[in-house]
Amino acid sequence: MALDKQTVAKVAHLARIRVEEDELETLAGEMNSIIGWVEQLGEVDTDGVEPMTSAVDLKLRLREDAITDGDYPDRVLKNGPSTEMHFYVVPKVVE
């Protein structure tokens, strides 16, 4: 699988990362070599082997349904570049 410039531009857009036109070629090359490196794994025979989701042999831990957190809007909003009346304020996004 090889990424072209167009695919790189699309991935960048989906991740909302600004990439200039003249960087696309370089990025495509770098990403292709990463993918190529990972694709070496395809050489291993994995027939009948379940995909591994975690390296640790643990069960998923569940939590009781209780209110133990929240109620601190000032802390939540502290890093917001723009806030008002305990809301985050962002450029208008409307349908």
Binding site: L14, A15, D65, G70, H86, F87, P91, K92, V93
Partner: protein
């Protein structure tokens, strides 16, 4: 019956599948300990997990899993003992993580089915494709500022069940019956409060049109419909639009559309152009969810009698028709009210009739519901008892019922106070009948001359004289005997 759209080139059939998002009833969120109550102050019910601060990790709420599994069981669905949480990636201001934790290839609940009850008394089975657990997003307010949106994350991370149907619906009636049935089921089992006005339940409708017998057309998705009325309107408008586009030589684009109830139109949501490129992958912060058989058994045992079972029992035990039974089991309060009234009345069919016609009619008109009914189940039962033992006639009973609705008084008290007791004393009625026959020679000879329709007029006269209190059976019989004899 499917809706048919009459196009210029022939008849078109609508094909629909629904995705219903139902908020799971839980104190805290799906992956955090923040509260879930409706109507909190902005960003009060937000933990650092919900705000996606770096380093925060999700921990799954056991109750949300339990309610998801119970709902799956109530939908007669396959429960998957192993399921996987995945990240659904998209960029939006009210989604601080940049992804929604959802389930993709391995949902907790697989295929099932729901019986929907249609107005003509028939039922239809709608397939369930899956049910999965996922986080809700935050809320954006767009009307506070001309160029800014305000973001409240209180809903961010609240647990949702997304219930996906198969494309089995063919009419707006079926789609709304399906939503009502799901709502009824989740309310019965207590996994969701079903409150559409507060956003606890909302539906996305996948809709396409085709000529009968042809393969499915390209579908569009109508997003976030938050009332049964809007679901119906959106379906009707969108289906017509699709027919018009196709018949005009155009093509339907697979896209997300927004229903605008004020303008009565659907329109493309351009901002969602990239939305279908979600790049799902298993969430590395969460291990697969594994369920034990014992846990699933517990969930099954905890289910109450479900609407379909109750409906079958009402039909078998009380002899009710499918439609009435369906109406009465729609929610548990109504069903319990009916059973109490039927017991007190000693006549289930009459109880069903008085509740669905008289009581619901008045409650509707008063803009209220059974929870605020001024008439108790026992009182309805008592009223029916009074009709059955001939204390009052069915006609007088309606006046008594009006009075009960106004004052909440017991029917026996009203009958006593107003002297509404039926006159069953044949002697008393007979003398009135004799008077009327004696004083209306013209009508009598007309009747005897063949205008038998005049009987009703005579009955009316007797009723007038007795303020409607004469037993209609006795009146009819006496009149007929005397006029025909």
């Amino acid at each position: 019956m499917g809706d048919i759209i009459k196009g210029e080139t022939g008849d078109w059939e609508i094909v629909m599948g629904l995705e219903v998002h139902a908020q799971i009833t839980s104190k805290s969120k799906l992956f955090s300990g923040a509260a879930t109550n409706f109507g909190g102050d902005p960003n009060e019910q937000v933990s650092l997990v919900d705000a996606a601060m770096p380093g925060m990790l999700p921990v799954l709420n056991a109750e949300c899993v339990r309610q998801g599994v119970r709902t799956g069981l109530a939908l007669k669905a396959q429960i998957n003992k192993r399921s996987v949480f995945a990240r659904k990636n998209y960029f939006y201001a009210d989604l601080p993580q940049g992804y929604q934790i959802s389930q993709y290839e391995e949902p907790v609940v697989g295929e099932g089915e729901v019986q929907i009850d249609l107005a003509d008394g028939t039922s239809k089975s709608i397939g369930i494709e899956r049910l999965h657990l996922e986080q809700d997003a935050g809320k954006s307010l767009h009307d506070q500022h001309p160029s800014k949106s305000y973001i409240d994350l209180n809903r961010s991370g609240v647990a949702l069940m997304e219930i996906v149907s198969k494309p089995d619906m063919r009419s707006a009636d079926e789609a709304t019956a399906y939503v009502n049935k799901l709502r009824s089921i989740v309310r019965y089992i207590g996994s969701c409060d079903g409150n559409m006005a507060e956003g606890s339940m909302r539906a996305d409708v996948n809709i396409s049109v085709r000529k009968a017998g042809e393969p499915m057309g390209t579908r569009t998705e109508l997003k976030n419909l938050n009332s049964v009325r809007f679901i119906r309107q959106a379906i009707e408008i969108e289906a017509k639009r699709q027919v018009k586009v196709i018949e005009g030589g155009g093509e339907i684009t697979q896209e997300t559309r927004l229903f605008d109830p004020t303008k009565g139109e659907t329109r493309s949501m351009r901002s969602k152009e990239d939305a279908h490129d979600y790049r799902y992958f298993p969430d590395p912060d969460l291990l697969p969810l594994e369920l034990e058989d014992a846990f699933i058994d517990e969930c099954l045992k905890s289910l109450p009698e479900l609407p379909d079972e109750k409906k079958a029992r009402f039909m078998a035990d009380y002899g009710l028709g499918a439609y009435d039974a369906g109406v009465l089991v729609a929610d548990q309060e109504t069903a319990a009210y009916f059973e109490e009234a039927a017991k007190a009345a000693g006549d289930a069919k009459l109880a069903a009739n008085w509740i669905t016609v008289e009581l619901f009619g008045r409650l509707n008109k008063a803009g209220t519901d059974l929870g605020d009914s001024p008439i108790s189940a026992k009182q309805i039962g008592e009223l029916i008892g009074l009709i059955k033992d001939d204390t009052i006639s069915g006609k007088i009973a309606k006046d008594v019922f009006d009075e009960m609705f106004e004052t909440s008084k017991d029917p026996g008290v009203i009958v006593e106070e107003k002297g509404l007791k039926q006159i069953t004393d044949t002697g008393a009625i007979e003398s009135i009948v004799d008077d009327i026959i004696a004083n209306n020679e013209g009508q009598v000879s007309a009747y005897r001359g063949g205008k038998t329709g005049l009987l009703g007029w005579f009955v009316g006269q007797v009723m007038k004289q007795t303020q409607g209190k004469a037993n209609p059976g006795v009146v009819n019989k006496l009149l007929k005997d005397k006029l025909d004899g």
